[in-house]
Symmetry: C2
Subunit: 362 residues, 2 copies
């Protein structure tokens, strides 16, 4: 690896979950967040120094439907950060905050983000907080109800948030069933939380009630990433009239045993905003690594030793099969770093056409 | 990175300490173990899939002389392993066990190693347990006294142990002050614990009371790695007459603020045992990465903002300086992966000459 393929030197504080068993990411009804094991390794492979503050310590990801381990308390999260502070180890360029196991933990993470912002006040633009408001997926919360208002309080302070479709609905109070409700939700999130950058990490356009022309190339079950940035050089501007929404379609569904990679690179007109450019790079990397993962998964399942399965009860057999498929689908990252850095597919972001936006937001 | 530079596919369970703040390794009076953050990342960069089971969760390494965080209990360590077992995630090729925070935790780690050995019984040679008996350094224990007998019990089951000089003394009951006492200690460890591979990770030959010819090229304060493998194709043979000791001299002292890289590559006759070959590769990688670390450390210290230091008390000023030096000396790994994989220096292992061995062991 040459230093050419590395990102600029970046010091990252990553506050998220840790699972012992290898790495996991992606879209899965049971776990839609990217844990610290994957996030930390990816950022390290790209050349970032990452301090990992783990919010849970689990044996394996929850997609296996069983796991053991412990959750960090808010006090433990705060204490680790205080340890960094007392030794002057808080000169981070970026904070990435993901899953936190309770409302108090979300508040503790929020306090850390705000403290880092205060410390960076002297150098405007020197600190960037990426917040993944992990609350649920597929129409269902998988955190306790009080986590939602906790996120609603801290999101005001983040620079970029990464909700999935359900989380965007939860934050906006708007059910996303069409391009216009999607645009309304984005508008509402910008306006309500004054957050300058939003990337909705997974929207299933094929299920929308409307059928605009932009959907004709969207295969069923693929996911579209929608981004929006307020157009402003000065103070944050949050009205929809200043937003620059864009879309990029991909498929990142290999990690659930029953999923398939269905991505069709979209070669529409390119959209050049920084977050759009970053997203298409991420999608291309994910797509390439997940393709390699799927090949390895299929090979592992073909070679699987299923002897003894016939002696199990039907329930036990299905459970065993689920565990086998979950294990086979673990992301193959360490052997495929070159595809992370130099993906073999090209995605392009597409500007969201004005006619797709609801009246009043154009 | 091409796959050419990767090691063969290896699934590793790494049970060791986790610190949030970046990575740390090396020889330091305050912390001489390689924590999981460094060990996991190095193995991942070389292409291993690593499951990290963390025994402590600290904000930063203890060389800063202050840190916050929590220690895992033996029950928590065991529970995480049970989580892996219940989902059939224990097909590891290698287990690397490092720091455990109590005697009960050492016993829990030992039970995990033995369980993995039992699971691998059907495929002899398919599982290898590397055990770093972290107990102390520089003549002093930094674990509680009951950790020592706990290690003495589990070491019988390991395939390779990595004591430093003090730990080798503790395990053998022999004070190492000369080549002959060093050989006696190795002989005693092989005999007492029936362990086939021993690598003593740091011996300071320059302080030995004897001065054999092999020391003439050893610079003061450099460290020599001593290895020994029982020569056996069948059952383990533990007498010294079957051991093949070798040495390799390096210097891995950058991580303590006051240390300097002093390594002089030794170009003696090469020694071809697998553990010797692996060790010289590790030394070359460490040396190259630590050279880059030292350059970056010096640059960081030259650029350090020391304004305000003059207003501090002498004690506070020294503390601030120590923290600054500790931070500057954090290992620069993610930006220097090419030096890990393709180091710029060459070390060679040297066979330990028969005349250096004590009578009766030749």
């Amino acid at each position: 690896m040459s230093t050419v393929s590395l990102v600029p030197e970046t010091r990252v504080l990553a506050i998220a979950s840790h699972v012992s068993h290898f790495v996991k990411c992606g879209h899965d009804p049971h776990i839609s967040y990217v844990g610290n094991k994957m996030a930390t390794l990816v950022m390290q492979l790209l050349g970032c120094d990452v301090a990992a503050l783990n919010t849970v310590h689990f044996s394996n990801h929850t997609g296996y439907r069983q796991f053991k381990g412990t959750r960090a308390t808010a006090e433990q999260i705060t204490e680790l950060y205080e340890g960094l502070c007392q030794s002057h180890l808080t000169d981070f360029d970026v904070m990435l905050s993901g899953y936190a196991p309770s409302a108090a933990a979300v508040e503790a993470v929020g306090a850390i983000g705000m403290d880092l912002q205060r410390k960076a006040e002297k150098n405007p633009g020197s600190f960037f907080w990426v917040l993944d408001p992990v609350m649920g997926d597929q129409g269902r919360l998988y955190v306790s109800n009080d986590v939602v208002p906790a996120y609603k309080t801290i999101i005001h302070h983040a620079d970029l948030i990464l909700p999935n479709q359900f989380e965007a609905e939860t934050l906006s109070g708007i059910k996303i069933t069409s391009l216009s409700t999607l645009a309304e939700a984005i508008t509402a999130i910008h306006a309500t939380y004054n957050v300058p950058h939003i990337i909705i990490t997974s929207v299933d356009l094929s299920r929308f009630t409307q059928s605009p022309s932009s959907q004709t190339t969207t295969p069923p079950d693929s996911l579209t990433v929608i981004g929006s940035t307020t157009r402003s050089d000065g103070p944050r501007v949050s009205s929809a009239s200043t937003s620059q929404p864009w879309t990029a379609t991909s498929a990142a569904q290999v990690t659930s045993p029953d999923d398939k990679v269905l991505g069709v690179p979209r070669r529409g007109q390119g959209h050049g905003s920084p977050s759009a450019r970053a997203t298409v790079q991420v999608l291309a990397s994910m797509h390439s690594v997940l393709e390699k993962t799927m090949e390895a998964r299929d090979a592992e399942l073909r070679a699987a030793d299923t002897r003894g399965d016939e002696t199990l009860s039907e329930e036990e057999r299905l459970k065993r099969e689920h565990l086998r498929k979950s294990k086979a689908a673990e992301v193959r990252l360490v052997r495929n770093v070159q595809y992370l850095r130099e993906p073999t597919v090209v995605f392009q972001a597409q500007e969201w056409r004005k006619e797709d936006l609801p009246a009043g937001s154009q």
